[in-house]
């Protein structure tokens, strides 16, 4: 269990990186708390797996240092870092039994056999494979194989951190819930630092204390699910988190007012921006009220998804999504109002404003 410090990490796969585009990781400089559950969230190719492999030591960063509890581990091997990692696709040792698969990392570290037996049996219980202990691992289903991979990581409960690289991709949906809640329980019990890579926002939001959103090789925001939802630091976070994502509309600032097309919105503060910045406002579909008062919109489409409806409309020539409660009717001459506190202002895609 360790506090993980990422000290100005940059990584390029090519030999001679010149511009920012050559870097898979542009710059990561953060400290992750001991015993925290972090989810690394972002689209494919944003550098999540690169960052994970740098933490585990499978990759050596081009620049920067990694510290566990303040101790520099940048040049240490994976083994010396005492890290467990679970990969996207199941890795099992075909010729071994399920039991031996789980015992393998412990035996390699010279754990005494009675201790191995106790831990492996516990873990078999947790992943629900006790009845399969003496079967060859080769013929199991993908689900079972991935449970073995998870078990091989979790059986070492004295590790500095456990890293998960989209481990539930191959698991069927029901089993996903079961495994995820078991992971949470284990995390509470053992208190290891946990880093969980995913591109599934539901998974990230339900799983982690802190969600780390990555975009184009950078960490754009680290926050609790509520922070990510209410105050996205970057328009990408607004767009990526939430379903549908945040509406981002080009705008102009006029003191404590924002102008979108012909409409003017009153803000609760006067944002400070540099002249020439690209200004946008961000408003979540949940914080737009559809009714007979406010600014006119043209409704294109209504999607009923059960608990509420998503109204796709056009506002000042821009597409906009609105979440409307199930029982409210949608007037023909629809108008909208924005929750004043829910409007975020972005300059060059980064959030500006009084509240952080």
């Amino acid at each position: 269990m360790a506090r993980i410090t990422l000290d100005h990490i940059r990584h390029a796969y090519g030999p001679n990186p010149v511009s920012d585009h050559d870097y898979a990781l542009r710059e990561v400089d953060h400290e992750w708390e001991d015993g925290g559950a972090y989810a690394l969230l972002g689209p494919s190719g944003c550098g999540k797996t690169t960052l994970l492999n740098i933490i585990s030591g499978l990759l050596h960063p081009s620049h920067g240092r990694i510290l566990f509890d303040g101790k520099d581990v940048t040049d240490l091997s994976t083994e010396a870092r005492n890290i467990a990692q679970v990969f996207q696709f199941p890795v099992i040792y075909d010729t071994m039994t399920v039991y031996d698969n789980l015992a393998f990392p412990l035996r390699n570290r010279g754990v005494p056999e009675p201790e191995i037996d106790r831990r492996v049996r516990d873990m078999l219980e947790i992943i629900d494979l006790s009845d399969w202990a003496n079967r060859k691992a080769q013929r199991l289903t993908a689900d079972q194989k991935q449970k073995i991979s998870l078990g091989r990581g979790l059986v070492r409960n004295d590790v500095n951190a456990i890293l998960f690289d989209e481990p539930l991709t191959v698991i069927d949906p029901h089993m996903k819930w079961v495994l995820r809640s078991q992971l949470k329980r284990l995390h509470k019990k053992f208190g290891f630092t946990m880093v969980y890579v995913t591109h599934d926002q539901t998974e990230a939001l339900t799983f982690a204390d802190k969600v780390v959103v990555m975009y184009e090789g950078e960490i754009v925001q680290i926050g609790t699910p509520a922070e990510l939802f209410e105050r996205p630091r970057h328009t990408f976070v607004g767009y990526f988190i939430g379903s549908p994502g945040m509406n981002v509309l080009p705008a102009r600032l006029d003191g404590a007012r924002a102008v979108v097309g012909n409409e003017t919105l009153a803000l609760d503060h006067a944002p400070v921006v540099a002249p020439g910045d690209k200004i946008e406002i961000g408003i979540r579909p949940e914080f737009i009220h559809l009714g007979r008062e406010g600014m006119p919109v043209r409704i294109n489409r209504v999607e009923d998804i059960g608990r509420h409806r998503i109204v796709r409309a056009e506002f000042e020539g821009q597409p906009i999504a609105i979440v409307s409660p199930e029982n409210e009717d949608i007037p023909a001459e629809a108008r909208i109002t924005f929750d004043p506190g829910a409007v975020n202002i972005y300059a060059n895609s980064w959030r500006v404003g009084a509240k952080v």
Partner: protein, 288 residues
């Protein structure tokens, strides 16, 4: 579910059937025909029954040759399989080294058998051969024409040189198909180099190794050209393998009947041994 029988499909396999019939079945039947008859030329045949078979099976000449064959195949497998695995493990997986190694490995395989024989025949000669002459100059007594051990060493070296590449290429193909995640997981699990080989690489190579063992067994068991060119079966009978003996009998002595009987026995042995190899090596797959 009810199956519909479509007899038109037979027409599609007909060309292959004909080809196999002319290239394998008919010649084989001809041999069977010879093996139960006696002839003195003139296209006259006399029924001989199983006489030739019992004659072959009771002749020490046959058993000696069979013994040499088995010993040769055993040595070949014991050298080429581990050596092939070892080379494949050490071949580069990325970069310019890959095509270079592959071409180097493929070179011996591209050389015809009789040329390989000729190369080694010259290479080993004591008067002008690079190997033979060098050994002679170093004071090592080496002469594959006179010394049976030297003849064996030469034939085995030649086969290893010629065919280890096949094992290497097959193993290499098995190795490169292993996803990186396996090696990464092994690092995370703290596996030693030996454990990586034992639990990841070897199981993943199992299928290609089976093919390699089968091919090398069958080929080495049927070896003819190279020892024929290099030693001609000698000195004495020390490198006279079944195939060489067979040709001596059929062409040299024109004993068609015994030769045909021997071919059939030879064929059945290879068939049986291959089946045994295959069954033994795939049986571990079945238990689960």
């Amino acid at each position: 579910m009810e199956k519909t029988w479509n007899n038109k499909a037979w027409f599609l396999v007909l060309p292959v059937l004909l080809l196999v019939a002319f290239s394998a079945v008919i010649p084989l039947m001809t041999v069977v025909n010879y093996s139960v008859q006696d002839t003195f030329g003139n296209n006259e045949f006399f029924w001989a029954g199983t006489d030739w078979f019992s004659q072959i099976l009771s002749s020490p000449r046959f058993w000696d040759a069979l013994g040499r064959n088995l010993f040769f195949s055993l040595i070949i497998l014991l050298i080429e399989i581990p050596l092939g695995i070892f080379i494949a493990l050490n071949m580069p997986k990325h970069g310019i080294g890959v095509p270079v190694c592959l071409v180097l490995m493929a070179l011996p395989l591209l050389i015809p058998w009789n040329v390989v024989g000729t190369i080694w025949q010259v290479f080993g000669r004591v008067d002008i051969g690079l190997l033979g002459h060098t050994l002679e100059a170093l004071g090592i007594d080496y002469n594959y024409v006179r010394n049976p051990t030297d003849a064996w060493v030469t034939v085995i070296l030649m086969d290893v040189w010629h065919w280890t590449s096949l094992v290497v290429l097959l193993c290499y193909a098995g190795l490169v198909s292993i996803p990186d995640a396996y090696y990464q997981a092994a690092k995370i699990d703290g596996a030693s180099r030996w454990a990586v080989f034992r639990y990841i690489q070897l199981p993943k190579m199992k299928r290609v190794l089976l093919i390699a063992v089968l091919l090398r067994f069958m080929d080495s068991f049927m070896i003819y050209t190279e020892p024929f060119v290099v030693t001609g079966g000698g000195p004495g009978n020390s490198t006279t393998f079944l195939s060489i003996d067979l040709v001596k009998m059929a062409i040299g002595q024109f004993d068609l009947g015994p030769a045909a009987a021997m071919s059939i026995i030879y064929f059945l042995i290879i068939l049986l041994m291959s089946w045994v190899f295959y069954t033994v090596m795939t049986s571990s797959d079945a238990d689960a």
